[in-house]
């Protein structure tokens, strides 16, 4: 056990904020889908994983087109947006007649389908995924912070902010919120609800692509399974903040990211390779479900029967 130093403390906080940003992006995607379609999308993580593989092919693979990182990033985000909307139209929409259970099983099918597809097309061997940020470090007093952390935080927060502003400031955003809250009323008001829900799925897919492309450089490698654990953290974050609250999901993600980063440093459950982070996230998830099921920012749903 090392002696406590503020330098190390702040380093862990920034590292946790960087992880939290990735969870926040994916958690926001989960919340968007949950509000719009009423289900938890289990394929959300692997949709991001698949997008990240496309990015790897566009940017790093020798036989690929060899784009610069940010061009590839923008292109993949756009492609994911279209892909997400198409998935809604082709797979989810037809299943909505079969009820919640059918949709959830459908998203599970997509989860395993994307995992298989990525392994099939690019083979499951881990691939190197380099960081797009400078390798040098930032010195603030004694605290040494890598640009990777700062970059991850800025990019993820930027995307999250764009989504929030889109919902707040644009007409389409307003229509999407209306369609998600009161589908029938919106339809009567002339809003094309199906189109709005498809846009919601597209936005969520774009967000999960960003989460994937930010998570892969932090890990350094890319394989078909790397988003599964990120998905568990994002679930825990979304439940912590309240599964229907977008702001809650983002705040929950940062609490979780920093919390786990500090826990793994100062609580001696494992020091070297932080192997028990996932069980800790799971325990947090279960404890919140037990004691405050609506989350920190959510409202308890009261229904008249």
């Amino acid at each position: 056990m090392l002696a406590f130093t503020w330098t190390q403390f702040w380093q862990q906080v920034v590292s946790g904020l960087s992880d939290g940003s990735i969870y926040a992006t994916l958690a926001l995607a989960l919340v968007l889908i949950h509000r719009a379609t009423g289900v938890v999308n289990f394929a959300q993580g692997n949709m991001g994983m698949f997008s990240t593989f496309i990015a790897w092919w566009l940017i790093y693979q020798e036989t690929g087109p060899g784009l610069t990182f940010w061009l590839g990033f923008a292109l993949v985000t756009l492609m994911s947006f279209v892909g997400g909307a198409v998935i809604y139209g082709v797979v989810i929409r037809p299943l909505q007649r079969g009820g919640e259970l059918a949709i959830v099983i459908g998203t599970i099918a997509l989860l395993i389908l994307f995992q298989g597809l990525a392994g099939w097309i690019w083979n499951p061997e881990p691939k190197a995924f380099k960081s797009p940020f400078p390798n040098s470090q930032l010195h603030i007093g004694d605290v040494v912070i890598s640009w990777l952390w700062v970059g991850t935080i800025l990019v993820s927060l930027g995307c999250v902010a764009v989504v929030f502003l889109f919902f707040r400031l644009t007409r389409t955003g307003l229509m999407m919120r209306a369609a998600a809250l009161r589908a029938n009323t919106s339809r009567l008001m002339g809003i094309r609800v199906t189109l709005m829900l498809a846009l919601g799925w597209g936005l969520a897919a774009a967000l999960s692509a960003v989460a994937g492309m930010m998570a892969a450089p932090s890990l350094g490698t890319l394989d078909p399974f790397f988003m599964l654990s990120v998905l568990v953290y994002a679930f825990a974050a979304a439940v912590l903040g309240g599964i229907d609250s977008p702001i809650g999901a983002v705040v929950g993600a940062y609490i979780l990211g920093v919390g786990i980063s500090l826990l793994s440093t100062y609580v001696n459950y494992i020091t070297v390779d932080s192997q028990l982070n996932l069980p800790v996230a799971l325990a947090i998830l279960l404890v919140i479900l037990l004691f405050r099921p609506s989350g920190l920012f959510g409202r308890a749903v009261v229904r008249r029967v």
Binding site: E100, L101, I105, G116, V232, L276, A281, L289
Partner: protein, 334 residues
């Protein structure tokens, strides 16, 4: 009871054929072939539990693979550390997995819908980390796992237990609890108003499903002679759910087809689809089941049974035909 007898009578033929087939299978097949059917029996037990949970109570478990793992590790640790015989550990494995499942179900109850799926997904992902952790290495053997015996082929043991658990599942879904579960699935508010304890029914269903998984895991551990953390990946849980959906959720008729699928689909997918990523096939099949036959093999069998009944109608129900003719003619009069 009198109402049950005709149902049993009609089913005696396929059931008898299946029993005869399974009882004599090892006599004229090699050990390798028999071993495959041992695994079919093990998967059958696991899917039975999953079907009670998903098909009858409308909850999804994405962590069934982890509960099989809990059962397998219970047997492995008991055989490794105590003098218990491996067969004696089977009920204990079922109890341990069932108890953990029962406790696990409580938090998931607090939210409507499919939050159990969420929690169990977490369990499936966390399970591997937990068992391979160096903290419990003295118990679980860490990343290398445990070795406590030679691989065996408990064919008759597996199918004996599978038959007993199938009968138990049948009795369960036709019992008061079974009706309560179906009510909880179809109309939770009406079920509560009629005096069903929603929380208890849901958690019990999860406990029972986990106990089935535990027994399956225990048999798997006996069959393998060793366990390691990587035998129970998330993909196993999803494969089990695919098998359950393919067999037919909410009916026990087609369960065996789900089990056959789980045993033979991976080989097929590896040979014909992709060596590196057979999961593509599972995803496509699961989607195909959802779109083309949401009732799974069970529903197909049910329809087939209906057709057979129609074909055999002249044999047993001329009176019914006449009665029907009377009814139709009266209806056209009015």
């Amino acid at each position: 009871m009198r109402r049950l007898i005709p149902t049993v009578g009609l089913r005696a033929i396929p059931v008898g054929a299946a029993v005869a087939f399974l009882a004599t299978y090892p006599l004229y097949h090699s050990n390798v072939e028999t071993l495959k059917f041992t695994l079919v029996g093990i998967y059958l037990i696991a899917i039975l539990g999953l079907n009670i949970l998903t098909g009858y109570s409308g909850q999804i478990s994405l962590g069934h693979g982890a509960f099989i793992g809990i059962g397998a590790y219970t047997t492995a640790i008991l055989v490794d550390k105590t003098s218990l015989s491996d067969v004696a550990t089977i009920p204990l494995a079922g109890l341990v997995a069932g108890a953990i499942g029962f406790l696990f179900g409580f938090p998931a109850l607090r939210l409507h819908g499919v939050y159990l799926a969420l929690a169990t997904f977490g369990a499936a992902v966390a399970f591997i980390q937990l068992v391979q952790s160096v903290h419990y290495q003295s118990f679980t053997g860490g990343a290398t796992g445990l070795f406590y015996g030679l691989p065996k082929n408990p064919y008759y043991l597996t199918w004996g237990i599978a038959a007993a658990l199938y009968a138990a599942a049948w009795l369960l879904v036709h019992s008061k609890l079974g009706r309560a579960l179906t009510a909880v699935r179809d109309a939770p508010i009406a079920a509560v108003s009629s005096g069903v304890n929603l929380a208890l029914a849901k958690t019990l269903a999860f406990g029972i499903a986990s106990a089935y998984a535990g027994v399956a895991g225990s048999l798997l551990a006996i069959r393998l002679g060793s366990v390691n953390p990587y035998s129970f990946p998330v993909a196993l849980s999803i494969l089990l759910l695919t098998g359950a959906a393919l067999g037919g959720l909410g009916t026990l008729n087609g369960v065996v087809f789900g089990a056959l699928f789980i045993q033979f689909a991976p080989d097929f997918a590896i040979d014909h689809v992709s060596k590196t990523a057979p999961e593509v096939a599972y995803g496509l099949i699961l989607l195909a089941v959802l779109f083309l036959m949401p009732g799974g093999a069970g529903e197909l069998l049910h329809r087939l049974g209906g057709l057979l009944k129609k074909a055999a109608k002249p044999l047993y129900s001329r009176t019914a035909d006449r009665a029907e003719a009377v009814v139709t003619s009266t209806r056209s009069d009015t």
